[in-house]
């Protein structure tokens, strides 16, 4: 049966899974065992990764044992997945001014765009927002954020090319206090987590802020591209180590990638997922909800 599937195309495999689920609906023990490879396939091909997949399957088997009643396995699996994400859930905190957020991450994941989306989100809530363009490295990085800010109608603190990002952060927080901004959103240059000096630079930025007031910045969001595979875990580990990120935002979920790496991130690092990016416009940011996320992960494969 397994070898047969190896030779089948992706769509065929999907049909088969679909069939398997629909025909049985309720899984008997025998079917349960033989459906394990199907679950593995769903998880592994959603970037969940080997380790987290094994953990999830183990939990599934465990839960299965506990229940005398023959249950539908799909709800059981979703429950396990949802619990994994809920265990690290974090609600948006009460806003203490100036509510300061830093977006960080590797190159091209969507930091600038996401920050613009957040600016819109807070402006709509009636906050007095300052956007800070601290990406002085990437060509037109400042210009990109500037155009977003102008479009949304919030103030922007521009910086000079090559200016030290920590000094920009300093200027930003000073002007937040004097001009009474309630929300300060700071964009940073994309950098690979493996580049030590660039990671140190971020740490310096953070320190400048917390020197001004201990609780600043309230949030450091790691922006992850949903298309990324297992490397996202490595990114999350190092960004957490260096900066103690408070949450992740998963972008580009409007593509076909499932973003399954968040399970490993939640399982191994306990970093909560806070928002997801669903498009390129300023309104394309929604709060992360474990159950909808899990539903779409399973639905994509099962019901296609």
């Amino acid at each position: 049966m397994l070898l047969e599937k190896i030779r089948m195309g992706l769509s065929k495999t999907r049909e088969k899974i679909h069939e398997a689920f629909l025909s049985t609906g309720i899984f008997f023990d025998k079917d349960f065992e033989s459906s394990i490879p199907v679950f593995e396939e769903i998880l592994l091909s959603s970037d969940v990764g080997v380790k987290a997949t094994n953990e999830i399957i183990a939990r599934l088997k465990e839960r299965r044992k506990e229940h005398e009643k023959r249950e539908d396995v799909i709800p059981l699996l979703s429950q396990i997945l949802i619990n994994l994400l809920i265990s690290s859930e974090k609600k948006e905190e009460e806003i203490i001014h100036p509510y300061t957020i830093l977006t960080v991450g590797v190159n091209g994941t969507g930091k600038t765009t996401t920050l613009a989306k957040l600016a819109k989100h807070f402006k709509d809530k009636g906050e007095h927002v300052l956007l800070v363009a601290a990406d002085t490295y990437r060509a037109a990085g400042v210009e990109q954020l500037y155009l977003w800010g102008r479009n949304i109608g919030v103030d922007i603190l521009k910086s000079q090319i090559g200016q030290d990002p920590a000094s920009i952060a300093f200027d930003a927080i000073e002007s937040a206090f004097t001009k009474e901004y309630t929300v300060v959103l700071i964009d940073t240059a994309g950098r690979l987590h493996t580049k030590k000096n660039l990671m140190e630079e971020l740490k310096k930025m953070k320190n400048v802020l917390s020197k001004k007031r201990e609780d600043l910045p309230q949030e450091i969001f790691l922006i992850l591209d949903a298309t990324t595979g297992q490397n996202a875990l490595s990114q999350a580990k190092i960004f957490k180590d260096v900066l103690d990120v408070t949450g992740t935002i998963l972008t580009k979920i409007d593509g076909t990638a499932k973003g399954g790496i968040v399970f490993a991130i939640s399982l191994e690092l306990g970093i909560p997922i806070r928002y997801i990016g669903i498009g390129e416009d300023v309104d394309d940011l929604i709060e992360f909800e474990p159950d909808t996320f899990v539903a779409s992960l399973l639905e994509g494969v099962v019901l296609q």
Partner: protein, 441 residues
């Protein structure tokens, strides 16, 4: 997780080394590990399945089963298959013919198209071409500005846009290039999702209009399982001539490269290794294969090791052992060969089979001393160690800057090793060419 697949394989094959032969079951276990390593490296699930099925055939072939060093040989078979899939026969080139030539870059948002456009211009300039960089991204804020700044920095001709649609930009830039004697034009398009039909249509249109000779799909090397969908959709709807993998300066294992190549059959041509315009390199299938397997530079090592040692040398040495003709001169040759492979401590640590020989003294310094001792002997002495008496030993010690007791030890070790190897080669106990010249203590 599987930083060290070689260590794991080594573990599995350690007990088998004594047996000298592998069963089907042993191979299955080895393949299971390889499957996990590939999945961890982000090779697509389905691609892994197919690939392992193929491997089953080659892994149960004579070559692995009969090998003295099944662990290494299996790993090598996997490595070779992976490398062969990754490499393309044709010579890597960027087609720039036409008046002007047209190169178009396509791909997802943030994959690195704009940066790659400038890198390609740089790459072609080194080959005597004067490219024109053309911003065809009207979507992302300041996209044209980004390209312009990078172009100015590297002093590459840049097309200043006055038009409002990318079709018009494309056509006008070609005219401009003709007038200015620039070729090719390099079109930096906006990032788009492979399922965004309206946006994809725009590319198809541009392609029809300008018939680019070279369309490059730019893919982030950190991409996961979705690489297959991305590749297939772009191929079906737009099609492309080659692949550029970006952000290879990170620590991603890059399994997406294999998935993409496997399903689209398009060549991977170049890799991006940084944010600057000269951070572009030719793609090397062998390096990529060992990166995906997480073997570090082991692949090259195993390759070189088997090249230099395996066949003739090992056979010759085995024969000599059997016939009791192995001399210090042969011993010295073996050491030389191993030294060519790199620093010895490192070499030994990296070859799976060698791990089991942990008690062997392989620190580079000791080897150097052994070598200089042998170097201080006459050829006659090397071939007839029996004649090396007390006064000869003194001379050799002085000549090599060592002590007589070191010379004594070497000669004794050599005799022990000779006897041991003779036993091995007579009985059916496999000995590994890689574990070869080191006397067991």
């Amino acid at each position: 997780m599987f930083e060290n697949i070689t260590a794991r394989l080594s573990e599995i094959f350690k007990s088998l080394r004594r047996k000298g032969k592998l069963s089907k079951k042993d191979i299955e276990n080895g393949l299971k590990d390889i499957r996990l390593a590939l999945l961890e490296a982000d090779v697509n699930y389905k691609v892994v399945k197919e690939f392992i099925a193929r491997l089953e055939k080659s892994a149960t072939g004579e070559r692995v089963l009969k090998s003295f060093t099944p662990g290494e040989t299996l790993l090598r078979v996997v490595f070779e298959e992976l490398r062969d899939f990754l490499s393309s026969k044709e010579k890597i080139e960027i087609k720039t013919d036409g008046r002007p030539g047209v190169v178009m870059l396509i791909g997802l948002q943030g994959s690195g198209k704009t940066t790659t456009a400038v890198k390609v211009a740089h790459f072609l300039r080194k080959r005597g071409r004067k490219s024109l960089l053309v911003p065809c991204d009207l979507k992302r804020p300041a996209a044209a500005e980004q390209l312009k700044i990078m172009a100015e920095k590297g002093e590459f001709p840049f097309y200043e846009i006055k038009e409002e649609t990318i079709e018009k930009i494309g056509l006008a830039s070609v005219e401009y290039a003709k007038k200015e004697g620039l070729s090719p034009v390099i079109l930096d398009t906006a990032g788009r999702l492979h399922i965004d039909d309206a946006m994809i249509e725009e590319l198809v249109h541009l392609k029809k209009l300008l018939s680019p000779k070279e369309i490059l799909l730019v893919l982030d090397s950190m991409t996961g399982q979705d690489a297959v969908n991305i590749g297939l959709e772009f191929q079906k709807k737009v099609d492309f001539d080659g692949i550029v993998l970006t952000k290879m300066d990170g620590d991603a294992r890059g399994g997406a490269a294999f998935s993409l190549r496997y399903v689209t059959k398009r060549p991977i041509k170049l890799i991006g290794t940084g944010e600057k315009s000269d951070d572009l390199e030719f793609f090397h299938a062998d390096r990529m294969a060992s990166r995906i397997l997480g073997m570090g530079d082991l692949s090259t090592l195993v390759e070189r090791a088997t090249e230099v040692i395996e066949k003739e040398e090992a056979e010759e040495a085995a024969k000599k052992f059997k016939e009791d003709r192995f001399t210090l001169e042969d011993f010295r040759k073996q050491i030389k060969i191993l030294q060519k492979l790199g620093p010895l401590e490192k070499v030994v640590g990296m070859i799976p089979g060698m791990k089991s020989l942990s008690k062997v003294d392989v620190n580079g310094d000791a080897i150097k001393r052994i070598e200089s001792i042998i170097n201080s002997m006459t050829v006659f002495e090397r071939n007839n160690p029996k004649i090396i008496d007390g006064s000869r030993r003194k001379r050799i010690a002085a000549g090599s800057g060592t002590t007589v007791s070191e010379v004594n030890r070497l000669l004794k070790d050599f005799e022990v090793m000779k006897r041991m190897m003779k036993q091995f080669s007579k009985g059916n106990i496999g000995f590994s060419p890689s574990s070869f010249p080191f006397p067991q203590k």
